[in-house]
């Protein structure tokens, strides 16, 4: 585990790119996610069932991809409690063996509310979007006073 310092609101710039985050998805990770989340839908676990449902094979949970997008934002923020909103569309299937990359850009920054809006997209190794129309919103704590009472 590594510890990170929380980002300063003052250091955020509109148009700024977040560090990208790439994840290699495996059958084992999908199983582990099914256990941790309780979502044991057989389309994620049973190859035969997945094929009978018209899928190419088992697929990753959409919420696993969203968890990656979540992490791309909170790794940058350095504090999970700052994230207030997260949304997006599961635009494509993620299957075992895929390498998915989360990319984010600061869309806006409001000095009055200390809120920052980030646009997010997750693509696979072929450049296909698997999560799009992604939006995250963070709220930073009130600015600490820089002056000291006499």
């Amino acid at each position: 585990m590594k510890t990170m310092k929380a980002l300063d609101f003052e250091d955020v710039r509109q148009g700024q790119a977040l560090p990208s985050l790439t994840k290699h998805v495996t059958v084992e990770q999908i199983r582990q996610y099914a256990e941790a989340s309780g979502d044991r839908n057989p389309i994620h676990l049973d190859e035969t069932f997945a094929r009978s449902a018209g899928l190419p094979g088992v697929i990753a949970h959409g919420m696993l991809t969203m968890a990656f997008a979540n992490q791309a934002v909170t790794d940058w923020l350095g504090d999970r409690s700052l994230l207030k909103r997260l949304q997006g569309r599961f635009a494509g299937m993620v299957v075992p063996g895929d390498d998915v990359t989360c990319s984010g850009t600061v869309a806006s920054k409001d000095d009055a509310t200390r809120r920052v809006v980030i646009n997010l997209v997750v693509t696979n190794q072929r450049g296909e979007k698997v999560f799009n129309k992604g939006v995250a919103e963070a709220e930073f704590p009130p600015q600490r006073s820089t002056t000291h009472a006499a």
Binding site: M1, K2, T3, M4, K23, Q29, Q32, Y33, E35, A36, S37, G38, D39, N41, I43, F49, S52, A53, G54, I59, H61, G62, M63, L64, M66, A67, F68, N70, Q71, T74, D75, G78, D79, R80, S81, L83, K84, R85, L86, Q87, G88, R89, F90, K133
Partner: protein, 133 residues
């Protein structure tokens, strides 16, 4: 085609007891293990404490969604406060719309999670897509 008369039906999860182990299992599963000092669940952990609402909808024999052809299409979450070990969270899911787009059925499901003092923890909207077999 799912019968539109089920719009409005709601499901409440039993209280979900958040434990350190459950948060760590989730962090390991998604590969998000950074230590922030205090152990706070990653925000998308909302799908762990709220999952039973999805499950109740998917297994409701009267509504009878075609779950074999169901995929999660979109998801929105708002987080009112971070989640910690010791929290007991109840989530209410409500079927709020059933629409068709081409040969797909779109099912909208609202999520509302509260703590033991009935204070808001998170809200969500899930969109499920059911493909025609």
């Amino acid at each position: 085609m799912t019968d539109a008369r089920w719009v409005g039906r709601s499901y409440e999860t039993p209280p979900y007891q958040v434990t350190e182990q459950s948060i760590r299992d989730y962090m390991e599963a998604v590969g998000d293990v950074r230590d922030d000092g205090e152990l706070l669940a990653p925000p998308t952990y909302a799908m762990v404490y709220g999952f039973d609402a999805f499950w109740q909808l998917w297994t409701d024999q009267e509504v009878a969604l075609d779950v074999a052809h169901l995929v999660h299409g979109e998801q929105r979450f708002s987080f009112q406060r971070p989640v910690r070990p010791g929290d007991r969270i109840r989530t209410t899911g409500r079927l709020t719309a059933i629409n068709t787009r081409g040969d797909m059925e779109l099912v909208t499901f609202d999520l509302n999670a509260i703590d033991e003092q009935d204070r808001p923890v998170s809200d969500g909207i899930a969109l499920f897509i059911i493909r025609k077999p």
